[in-house]
């Protein structure tokens, strides 16, 4: 009788890819809930759109590429991509924004490169950039925090707006975005960028209703919620500390320095760290293992590079937020970073 043959090791740790993806998604829950609390139900609808399109696109691509469908579909990676894109786009963005973005992320950024593990760029961020440059108006039409909104939106109104562009009462998205004074509400970073360019000082900008004690209303708590999720991932050892720490550290240090040098001309460190995609990106976007650096030293460099790029673009560039651009730029440098940050191999002496 012959025995069954197998290659060592015969025992394996039970942390499968699907489980890793699921854990990351669950870590997003606090952030999503906070987002929904401050900015309405739109985020749920966007999640539903993006995740279902992601699954469908993944399925179609796998089928077309003649790849094992069940195994790849159940690794949850497509769902995670859909989720990350959904929380990145404005909650009331038209439905096709999320659909196009997800289609692009899965079909072109991921599957066209060979599927999971083969893509150079972070699919969610690549899709975000595509949408931002293609549909700048839709992509920047963020609602103000609910407390500032004149018109209350129920779930049906939200769905209607996303699908048709108008609420059931016939309000357009533009009208929804307007404050009591009839002025369109922008995101904190947007407002700062606009106002600083318009000649206002930073402190004058802070007096806008979207700010609350020097922090963006709503945005601050959303960032905190994502921070909590990120810390959970760190604790679960799903992600490594190097990238978030070096990213946040670099961005924080640079904004702190500019704040000290030019307090009127720039947003504070706290505002930078708690506004926009900073926290979310630090734990959920930058840590995407596929497109990030893989060596420990490399991860530090990678995080710092993105922090630096975000600062540069926010400070001097045309876009209020810059995480997506910075991530894509850093993605390109990953092979180089990995190559030059190889650890010293055992027994090879000092390198």
């Amino acid at each position: 009788m012959s025995f069954k043959l197998a290659s060592s090791p015969h025992t394996r740790k039970n942390n499968k890819t699907a489980f890793v993806m699921l854990t990351v998604m669950s870590a997003c829950i606090p952030g999503i809930l906070t987002q929904a609390y401050f900015f309405g139900f739109g985020v749920f609808i966007q999640l539903a759109i993006c995740m279902s399109v992601a699954l469908f696109t993944e399925y179609a691509c796998l089928k077309w590429r003649n790849k094992p469908i069940k195994r790849s579909l159940t690794d949850n990676s497509a769902l995670l991509t859909g989720l990350l894109l959904a929380v990145s786009i404005p909650p009331l963005a038209p439905w096709w924004i999320g659909a196009i973005g997800t289609l692009f992320a899965i079909a072109l950024v991921k599957q066209a490169y060979g599927g999971l593990g083969q893509n150079i760029f972070n699919p969610a961020m690549a899709a975000y950039v595509l949408l931002l440059v293609s549909f700048p108006l839709s992509m920047t039409s963020w609602l103000p925090a609910s407390s500032l909104m004149v018109i209350d939106l129920n779930f049906y109104d939200t769905l209607s707006t996303i699908l048709t562009g108008y609420t059931s009462q016939g309000y357009s998205l533009e009208q929804l975005r307007s404050g009591i004074d009839g002025l369109t509400m922008a995101t904190p970073l947007d407002a700062i960028k606009t106002n600083l360019l318009a000649g206002y000082t930073y402190n004058e900008t802070l007096s806008l209703p979207i700010f609350d004690n020097g922090i963006g209303k709503g945005w601050f708590y959303v960032s905190l919620a994502y921070l909590v999720g990120g810390l959970y991932l760190l604790k679960k050892r799903i992600i490594k500390w190097q990238i978030p720490v070096s990213f946040i550290g670099t961005l924080g240090f640079l904004t702190l320095v500019t704040q000290a040098v030019n307090a009127d001309g720039t947003g504070s460190m706290l505002l930078h760290l708690t506004s926009g995609a900073t926290c979310f990106a630090a734990f959920f976007i930058l840590t995407d293992p596929v497109s990030a650096a893989t060596t420990n030293k490399g991860r530090l460099i990678y995080g710092a590079l993105i922090g630096f790029l975000v600062f540069i673009i926010r400070q001097f560039g045309g876009y209020p937020d810059a995480v997506a651009f910075a991530v894509l730029l850093a993605n390109m440098t990953v092979p180089l970073i990995d190559y030059y940050t190889q650890p010293k191999v055992f027994g090879h002496g000092d390198k």
Partner: protein, 885 residues
């Protein structure tokens, strides 16, 4: 180093990078004492169980052996013997399924147990301290002790390090999950282990002995600490449990914070490490005198109800173990030899326990499920974090999968210790270690191939260089000898003829070989040579031109050379014949035979310059002959007014039919080659035959003509003699054509040449052979003519005389000449009856000549004798006539 020892003594521990924490599951098997199993019916002891050389087997099938008796010798420094695990009879000695992942059969000795389990004579060395260290090392080697931790590295080799040993590290870490054999040995045989360590310490004299144990073995730690109590420089170090802390390099790093440099061994940094099991075996070898015939094996897994440690004789088949432990027989579909991290699945139940078998793991499917299908690498870097060698497994995997061996090596693939930590943590279930093993094997194979290829290339280049050298030497030699020949020719006139003949022979040899080697080449060369020749000879004597045409078109070099020989000889013979008897002909005949046999067996030699040279020589010779002929012509006008007047114009006239002749010759030759294409085996000889045949035929016709014309006038025979040279080539043409040619040629050249001969002969010409040949021909013709002139009524006799001279001189030509003579006679006879029948006789004679010239058989001899007789008669007549005239 001193401070390091102090730190170690103080309890400082370091860490190694990476590492994983697989479930330990040691409780399954470490709760019971080491027990024994009943004797098996037979044991299979693999001959080679260690890293190192293969041993010589000391026993033969059918021999009786006692327990502990050595089965193999151990002459080599790197080898250790194997011993009989029990008493009994030697059964088969043959390849048996091995304890290797592949199960590849390995030479093994079967011992059929007699059940007595009788020990051979054993001699304990309790007082080893009184013995020289080398003797103690020898005892360890003789006892067959090899590293029981995994690699089976011969233990005695480790005991003779190049560097003084600072630290003796006793490895009781046992980091692999499930395995508890070292654990149980330390618990139950702590004192014996300490004794074993003392033996090693006696040999190595280390400054510190460190016994390293993972913290998951508290009982073993206690036992060892108790056994060490009061012993100076014996330290028990407790390591945090982390796989693979038990790896030699990792344990050294943890204990000493030193890395074993790449390509070195631990002894190079002053650390000698030994496994607990090995130390226990050393104890038994020295204190009890028992060789290594058994070892403690953990038999475990959830499929085994009576999991525990068993003292199993080396060679015990797994089937025997499974028969004596309680287990679920339905589900023992996998048997892992070793632990779950680095162990391998064995092929079947017949695999024997060996010196490195520390565990037999028979798990259930739930316990250690089969590896799920591999998924895409998400570059999470878990593997890199787990790698104890600080490699980048994801990069190694990437390049291994892509078969980019260079890059895999650039990422230090060969520093992988295959611990399996990377594959253990991989969330995508990629069998990383398997990829690395495979790539390593491929690289090793490729390197071997490369070395082989390089050696082959080297051999080839050396050979080429040698051949080139040889060729150069040969060329130099030839050049030297050629110069010598030239010199001697210049200085020694009397030897001219002989040398010329020798040179001609040598050339003929070369030429023969050349044409033998490449018929087709000859074929291709034939025409251009002919044309070239034609241009050279525009002003030369036509006769020669035509002759050379024929010879060239048939086999340019060879035939020319042969002709040269023949001519040279003919000349000499002609001279001789002038005042000597026909006996001389016979004496000269044998050499010509020799020449031919030489031609047939001449060695292969480069002869590039030869054809040109000989052509040139021929041209010069001809030119001279012509000049002489002209000179002579002026003198001869009185006697041969017709010939003299025609001499110059004839040469011009002859130039016209030449191309035609050439064509004809080429045609003849082509057809010859064509017909011979099927008979490749016969190489050149057919060509030669044809050439000779053509000559013979032509001459025969000439003779026929002569026979006709000799009656009306004496000078017309000379004329026809000249014309024969053309019909030679046109032999395949109709007789009418031949006649036409004959009519166009109205030369009296032979006379001229006959005169020229004397002049040329006297000259000291470096290019002798051709000239002499030409002279020879001329002479022959003169002879002929003289004969004709002497007796117009008996032309055939006269011809015979002339031709017989050829026969005696040069085999090939001579034969043809004989046949010619015959032919002429026949022709003459037949002409009397009717012309056409002559052609058949010509064919016959040519065939005969061809055969003769080639085979040189007895018929040839007979023919020669007959001809000789005739010749004598003819000569006598001719002489008589000449004297009269």
């Amino acid at each position: 180093m001193e401070s390091l020892l102090e730190k170690i003594k103080a309890g400082v521990l370091w860490d190694f990078p990476g590492g994983v924490h697989p479930p330990q599951r040691k409780k399954l098997s470490n709760q019971t004492e080491i027990s024994l199993l009943p004797l098996a019916e037979h044991y299979w002891v693999p001959v080679k169980q260690h890293i190192g050389a293969v041993n010589h087997i000391l026993v033969a099938s059918g021999d009786k052996v006692k327990k502990g008796q050595a089965l193999t010798a151990f002459n080599d420094k790197m080898s250790v013997p194997v011993h009989a695990p029990t008493s009994g009879t030697i059964g088969k000695i043959e390849p048996h399924v091995s304890a290797h992942p592949s199960g590849i059969p390995a030479l093994s000795i079967q011992i059929i147990a007699d059940g007595l389990d009788e020990w051979c004579e054993i001699s304990p060395k309790i007082h080893f301290r009184t013995l020289p260290k080398s003797d103690v090392i020898g005892f360890i080697q003789a006892a067959g002790v090899a590293g029981l931790g995994g690699a089976a590295f011969p233990t005695h080799v480790k005991q003779t390090p190049n560097q003084p040993c600072e630290i003796l590290l006793i490895n009781g870490v046992e980091c692999e999950p499930y395995i508890t054999s070292d654990d149980r040995v330390m618990r139950e045989h702590a004192d014996e282990v300490i004794h074993g360590i003392e033996v090693l310490a006696y040999i190595l004299e280390p400054k510190l002995v460190v016994i390293a144990i993972e913290d998951n073995k508290p009982e073993a730690i206690n036992a060892m600490e108790a056994a060490c109590a009061g012993k100076a420089n014996f330290v028990v170090r407790v390591l945090p449990t982390k796989y693979p802390a038990g790896g030699e390099k990792q344990i050294i790093q943890v204990i000493t914070n030193m890395e074993v440099p790449k390509g070195k061994i631990s002894a190079d940094i002053g650390v000698v490490s030994q496994n607990v099991g090995t130390v226990y075996a050393i104890y038994k070898a020295i204190y009890l005198g028992e060789p290594l015939i058994d070892r403690v094996v953990t038999v475990t897994g959830e499929n085994i109800e009576t999991a525990g440690n068993y003292r199993l004789p080396i060679g015990t088949p797994i089937a025997h173990v499974l028969n004596h432990v309680k287990h679920d027989n339905q589900h023992n579909e996998r048997v892992i030899m070793g632990g779950p991290m680095m162990g391998f699945t064995v092929l079947n139940k017949q695999v024997p326990v060996t010196k490195i078998t520390n565990c037999l793991l028979i798990p259930t499917q739930q316990e250690l499920p089969d590896a799920p299908p591999e998924q895409a690498c998400i570059r999470c870097g878990e593997c890199a974090d787990a790698c104890p060698a600080s490699l980048l497994p994801q990069q190694l995997y990437w390049h291994s999968k892509a078969k980019e061996h260079d890059k895999a090596q650039a990422y230090n693939l060969f520093d992988c210790i295959e611990c399996g930590a990377c594959a253990f943590v991989c969330p995508s279930d990629i069998p990383l270690v398997q990829y690395y093993r495979q790539t390593k094997a491929e690289i090793r194979e490729a390197n071997e191939e490369k070395i082989k290829a390089e050696k082959a290339k080297e051999r080839f280049e050396t050979r080429n260089a040698r051949l080139e050298r040889d060729k150069q030497e040969r060329l130099d030699k030839h050049k030297r000898s050629a110069e010598l020949r030239k010199q001697s020719l210049n200085t020694d006139q009397s030897a001219q003829d002989k040398i010329a003949a020798a040179m001609a022979r040598a050339k003929a040899k070369k030429a023969q070989k050349n044409s033998t080697n490449d018929i087709t080449k000859t074929d291709q060369n034939a025409e251009p040579n002919t044309l070239e020749n034609t241009t050279l000879e525009n002003s030369a004597v036509e006769k020669n031109a035509v002759e050379s045409n024929i010879s060239q078109s048939n086999s340019p070099i060879k035939n020319k050379a042969q002709e040269a020989i023949a001519r040279a000889k003919a000349k000499r013979e002609a001279k001789l014949n002038n005042n000597a008897s026909t006996e001389e002909q016979n004496t000269t005949a044998p050499p010509s035979h020799k020449v031919e046999s030489d031609l047939d067996h001449s060695p292969n030699e480069p002869v590039e310059a030869d054809p040109i040279k000989s052509k040139a020589q021929a041209a010069i010779a001809r030119a001279k002959a012509k000049r002489e002929a002209k000179l002579k012509n002026a003198d001869a006008t009185a006697t041969n007014s017709q010939k003299a007047s025609a001499s110059d114009s004839a040469s011009q006239k002859e130039a016209e039919p030449k191309p035609e002749n050439q064509r004809a010759a080429t045609l003849t030759h082509d057809s010859t080659i064509d017909s011979n294409n099927d008979e490749i085996a016969s190489t050149v000889s057919p060509i030669k035959l044809k050439a000779q045949a053509a000559i013979a035929r032509a001459k025969a016709k000439k003779a026929a003509k002569l026979a006709e014309e000799s009656k009306p006038a004496a000078h017309s025979s000379a004329e026809s003699d000249k014309t024969t040279l053309e019909p030679k080539t046109a032999a395949d043409q109709t007789d009418e054509q031949v006649d036409e040619h004959l009519q166009t040629s109205t030369t009296n050249e032979p006379t001229e040449i006959s005169e020229a001969m004397y002049q040329t002969e006297l000259e000291i010409d470096p290019i002798k052979s051709k000239a002499q040949a030409a002279i020879a021909r001329a002479k022959a013709k003169r002879q002929q003519k003289m004969a004709e002139q002497a007796s117009v009524t008996q032309p055939e006799n006269a011809k015979a005389e002339a031709n017989i001279q050829f026969d005696a001189e040069a085999k090939s030509r001579a034969k043809a000449a004989i046949e010619r003579a015959k032919a002429r006679r026949d022709q003459a006879n037949q002409l009397a009856h009717g012309g056409e029948t002559g052609s058949s006789s010509i064919t016959n004679t040519t065939t005969a000549s061809s055969l003769d010239s080639e085979s040189g058989n007895s018929e040839d001899e007979n023919a020669n004798q007959v001809k000789a007789a005739k010749v004598k008669a003819a000569l006598a007549k001719a002489k008589a006539k000449r004297q009269k005239s």
